[in-house]
Symmetry: none
Subunit: 489 residues, 2 copies
Amino acid sequence: MAMSSSFPSLILPKGHIKDGLYCAIRDAILDGRLSAGTKLPSSRTLAEMMSISRNSVLAALDRLLDEGYLITKPSSGTYVADIIPDQLIQIQSSQLHAIQQSAQTLNINPHIASLLPDWHKQTLSCQEKKMFHVGVGCIDLFPHQLWGKLLGRAWRQSYYQLGQFHDPRGYLPLRQAICQYVQSTRGLNCNEEQILIVNGIQQAIHLVAYALLQPYDQVCLDEPGYDAALNVFRSFGVMVQPIESDDEGMKVPEIIQHYTGSKLVYTAPSHQFPLGGTLSLARRFALLDWSAQQQKWIFEDDYNSEFRYGTPPIQALQGLDQQQRVIYAGTFSKIMFPEFRLGFMVVPDALVDTFSLAKYYTDTRSSYLEQVALAAFIQDGHYARHVRKVRKACYERQQVLIAAIEHHLSDVLVVQPTDSGIHLVCWLKEHWTEQDFIVQCSQAGLAVQPLSRYCQHSHQKAAVLFGYAAHTPEEIKVSIEKLAMQIQM
Amino acid sequence: MAMSSSFPSLILPKGHIKDGLYCAIRDAILDGRLSAGTKLPSSRTLAEMMSISRNSVLAALDRLLDEGYLITKPSSGTYVADIIPDQLIQIQSSQLHAIQQSAQTLNINPHIASLLPDWHKQTLSCQEKKMFHVGVGCIDLFPHQLWGKLLGRAWRQSYYQLGQFHDPRGYLPLRQAICQYVQSTRGLNCNEEQILIVNGIQQAIHLVAYALLQPYDQVCLDEPGYDAALNVFRSFGVMVQPIESDDEGMKVPEIIQHYTGSKLVYTAPSHQFPLGGTLSLARRFALLDWSAQQQKWIFEDDYNSEFRYGTPPIQALQGLDQQQRVIYAGTFSKIMFPEFRLGFMVVPDALVDTFSLAKYYTDTRSSYLEQVALAAFIQDGHYARHVRKVRKACYERQQVLIAAIEHHLSDVLVVQPTDSGIHLVCWLKEHWTEQDFIVQCSQAGLAVQPLSRYCQHSHQKAAVLFGYAAHTPEEIKVSIEKLAMQIQM
């Protein structure tokens, strides 16, 4: 068998024979073991080599041909195509052409170029002064004067420390304060050496992609999921596998069965973004077990930990992890205010050096002054007090929003019940599309977001997200009335 | 009480009664003392056993039920759920050890892993409290009180803006102030749309590598050159070509002849780091010409622009560039203080979107408050005044250092003349190695840096760098005397 001498040995993942051959060949193409132009053995030979049925081989080859990994040449055979990353395939070919051209003309990284077409509309919409932006906390309740005092004190205290170069991981007293806080409120299992101060969860995601991943690595992400995480991974040329949820949360068994090539799983187990589900304990253990056995990493995005109403907060996945596979990230931007750009990571011991280095080569260290003020804010108990106040207010605002929607918009929206978070998901009734509803919202001055924004695939039912935490009950009532009138016009 | 005979004794942690019972039962389940199917005593019995209130017991049980550790069976009671995998309960420490072994075992990006071995010694040496660190400005002269006032004012003014999402490029009034300043002092050719606020030059370098480059792209860099830039490029898998200087500065003809495949040239044309040379006008034009014809990018690191003594500042390369090929970066950390993590980039029109996107997916935006204070500091003329003061003091400190070295260390060092910068390069006389000299410095409490730190190749003559700007003339004299005595011992 002459041609199979240059054909690499493929290892089939256990269980799924058909997907197995597909994955094995695709991965071999993506990691370069099978280079462009290589001729494939016949389906009969492949079936013999792999000890599977010829039908299974044909199914796998069909899929690879469909997805553009392979091409056939008439009366010659099947060959490896010039590789096109998965994410580029999802883009329409006319758009793809434009992107490739702009990447070439601009001479920039093509993975970054592929994100540019969608960039403008999304960020511009974020900057508009409208109500119900997703992801903004109760800014009006922030103890503005107190924080001003703490900043002033921090600045006076800092006089003799400004000339020193500090640890890239951040200000030690702040790391200690965070360590204590997350141990007691989130059940984390960590020490201060594992804590890194970063510029919000966004930087944590960026650092994870930068430090751990390479182009064509595979990552699993909630579907629907956090669009800014998806785009960070794409910007690094990483392939993102969307994983849906059911009533036990993210479908972990699917990851274990189908996506064995994944290097990292990104998830928000306490409050799936944006739908709000919780990952069941059985699946938590299954995910931890798999990641320990297969040396995978898990990124736990705990963006929402402080906002639970009724039930106490669920222990973080990190706290259950006995094998140090979880990289945990939390933020202060939601409890403080959006322009407060500090968050933190809790990383496994084995990754402390890796992330210190990654942070250092990204931007040296985070801004010093606000770290000093935040340490005092936490240590003096102001933070915990503020969390209680915000939690109470958020719950009230949520209830007002639900009541207003049920009163004024029951023909249009069905509220999805939730006991946590700072946004509300509402499902659109049949006669409405997301697009039509968003147009109405926009005309009423509301920055409501369509669920499709957070989807890689387009098969989700139509829904919209209202971020309610930043508005008083009165503001919420008035704006929903306004929207209802707009819709009736 | 039949069932409690098989129920293990639980130990409550001190202090936290409600969380305590939750933790005690959870831990007993996880470490196997409470096995799956075990029936729990009634809440009343548990309250008696543990001597806590029944309400506390109910709260703990609710949480354990929520999290799936317990289940209830109708008209039967509460049981330990049977979903806890046994193998997770016993962890072998050898497994954890295996995780920590090597970069490959870590499953991290190999380009990052390759930088880890040198990471520790360099960063740890940076954090030591010693004299003559390279890259620190005149911290003692910073108008501490004034800045405190501006911060306070910025915070009071910000009240109504904290809820908005701002432009990823930064605070507009600051971008306008910087635009005016660099036009008048550095001859830049730009408008405010091209300006991005970043967290120091380090982040500018990171963003350039992230947005423009891919693994195995080629970049040209000064040799010797800025080690943190070299390492950022390496961390992205980029190949770095070292380009030496002669008395006209970086050997641009060599780039044009030999490194045509390079995508970017990184250089500090006004003050080559670390040797201080200036790129000749002929070479500036040659470099600009070539980059325009070949669609290459130039990164102009203008870290040193404010520190020129005697001669007026040289116009930036960016100001000569008629074809928009230069990405310019400046910093405030040297004129302000090292922990002030703001700098800026001026990017070609064609790259404004690319870098806005890159900044957004890196860390959303830079810290807001310090941007507002800095805008006022520049607009009100404090910045220009402070630059004049610092420039005068730096020159004096440099002169004192040169005199002290020539007086006490003329057997060991030859000072390299310079009319700019905040560090001094001294060549070692023949009988000295960098290593030997650094050991002596270290013992005298000085953080002098060897030139080899900044070299990719090892053929440079031995030299060391003294960062002098942070120390008063008296401190400089005393520490050089101390070093001379140390060496004579």
